[in-house]
Symmetry: C2
Subunit: 309 residues, 2 copies
């Protein structure tokens, strides 16, 4: 029986937040200020989209790989926490004055406003580093097959976050913002988003699938699903930046346009952007059909398309 999405999200978010709290360093060998700065943005009420995708992909893949859903969930939980650490580090660094220069995030002053730029850079570095140490450490096991899957998932997340993925996308964004929104043509715009947001969303779904034993066509279908979902997510994000009020969105709305950043509404207008997002959603669903994988993955598409914050 598949839970309604809201109930599933609520239960899984609770599991992820409890695990994040457990996995994060505590004061001791780690200086208290670093612990505090790491937790500040991490526990500021994020939607946990990426961890939800890790877990949904693991649970959806499990019946196809002969794994119990509970086991898949337990094996994928550290990776779910790791991708949220990676995502949070990227927010902390992107908000810095030398990057997007944002003073509000998730409804609170950004980390560098509270802790200073130097400590915010270090907190981001620590979040990123802990993500990989966590994936290497957990789940602890002497099972050789599991060791191979952990390495594979870690590599996928690392490549998604790295120079050809998220960091590369932010670099393109940084350069484009300097030269104006219309400096990127349609291909360059989707290429930037595929790296900046899409890569980690794909990496999240794939890491979940891998930890549940997915490989071959099953893993490829999950990847294809997440590729379309990631683009839908980014288009909706761009639309919300135009439409949203600062208070509701919890970050400075209209900021992208004001900064001359390349966005979908700036290039295509709002109506066409909405149509493009819906089309990406349909493609994500279609990608799952050949392998008959469902679980919460279709509901997550509807959630991403319908979100208002």
């Amino acid at each position: 029986m598949t839970l309604p999405l809201d109930a599933w999200l609520s239960a899984r978010r609770q599991a992820v937040d409890a695990a994040l709290d457990r996995f994060l360093p505590s004061p001791g060998p780690t200086p208290p200020i670093v612990c505090e700065a790491m937790r500040y943005t991490l526990f500021a009420g994020g939607k946990r989209v990426r961890p939800m995708l890790v877990l949904a992909a693991a649970e959806a893949a499990a019946p196809r790989t002969g794994m119990a859903e509970d086991e898949a969930l337990a094996l994928a939980l550290p990776a779910a926490c790791a991708v949220e650490l990676v995502h949070t580090y990227s927010l902390v660094h992107d908000d810095l004055p030398a990057m997007d220069d944002d003073s509000m995030r998730r409804g609170r002053p950004t980390a560098h406003v509270v802790y200073g730029e130097g400590m915010a850079i270090l907190a981001g570095d620590a979040l990123l580093t802990e993500a990989f140490a966590l994936m290497a450490r957990e789940p602890a096991s002497s099972d050789p097959g599991l060791a191979q899957r952990k390495l594979h998932a870690l590599r996928v997340v690392g490549e998604a976050a790295g120079a050809a993925g998220m960091v590369g996308g932010q670099a393109i964004d940084l350069q484009a913002a300097r030269t104006g929104a219309h400096a990127l043509d349609a291909d360059a715009l989707s290429g930037m988003h595929a790296r900046k947001t899409g890569a980690l969303i794909r990496g999240s779904a794939c890491a979940g699938g891998i930890m549940a034993g997915a490989a071959g066509p099953l893993l490829e279908a999950i990847d294809e699903y997440a590729r379309h979902l990631g683009l839908a997510f980014q288009i909706v994000d761009d639309i919300l930046d135009v439409e949203g009020a600062s208070a509701e969105l919890g970050k400075t709305a209209g900021k992208d346009a004001a900064a001359g950043k390349p966005t979908y509404p700036a290039r295509y207008g709002l109506d066409e952007s909405r149509r493009l997002a819906a089309e990406c959603g349909h493609r994500a669903l279609a990608a799952l059909e050949p392998v008959q994988v469902t679980g919460q993955l279709p509901a997550i598409v509807r959630w991403v398309l319908g979100r208002t914050d």
Copy 2:
């Protein structure tokens, strides 16, 4: 037969530099500016101390674990590259205006001077991320025992670089610099150095040992050796900052004292600092005796104590 250290260092540095060049991303999926900024500091003529330790520990452990030296070298080479990527990222971020605000490094303008702060932050992020992706990916193998060793080495490097290690040490340094050099007592000073410099030096030696199959007392001896070596390295570094001329050192000399940073000479004076460094060197050598591991590890102690840049 053990090569003279100079010949060994020269051959191994060549192997590491060639591997770094091969493992680093090339323009394509990775934006050219990110590739360029990553390579800028990486190929600016570092001494490659940490990669040398990875390889020396692997080669020294190999005869004790029944592995051929050549095989140990090949298995440890990706980890050797990874620790240099981690070290280089830390230089790029530490040099930022919000941190140590250094404009010269390895005899050239620092990355943020050349590429701007935003791109320097991103280049550091990319170097750190690629380090872990590389260790997860290479050496490619379906050997389950090797997968376990790769995970172990990756975890050790991640924990050394993270919140309880290098990042934590830099955070303590950042806070101490704000309050003046003498704000740290002797224990706090050695605790800062153990994290900021020592942790990655230990992690490097251990990662090399682990890739060569070291465990138990053998791995503990390598760790103990590197713990003392790391402290010797930092004390010598502090001494050179006081004594060195800017041109010879390739970075701004006297900078630590000027910034009111906590250093060994500031706390103990130059002569006592020299004695402390020599004592650490003796302890490093003594740690190897019970397990009769040698190779280049003793020569590296003498190199670290005698270095002038």
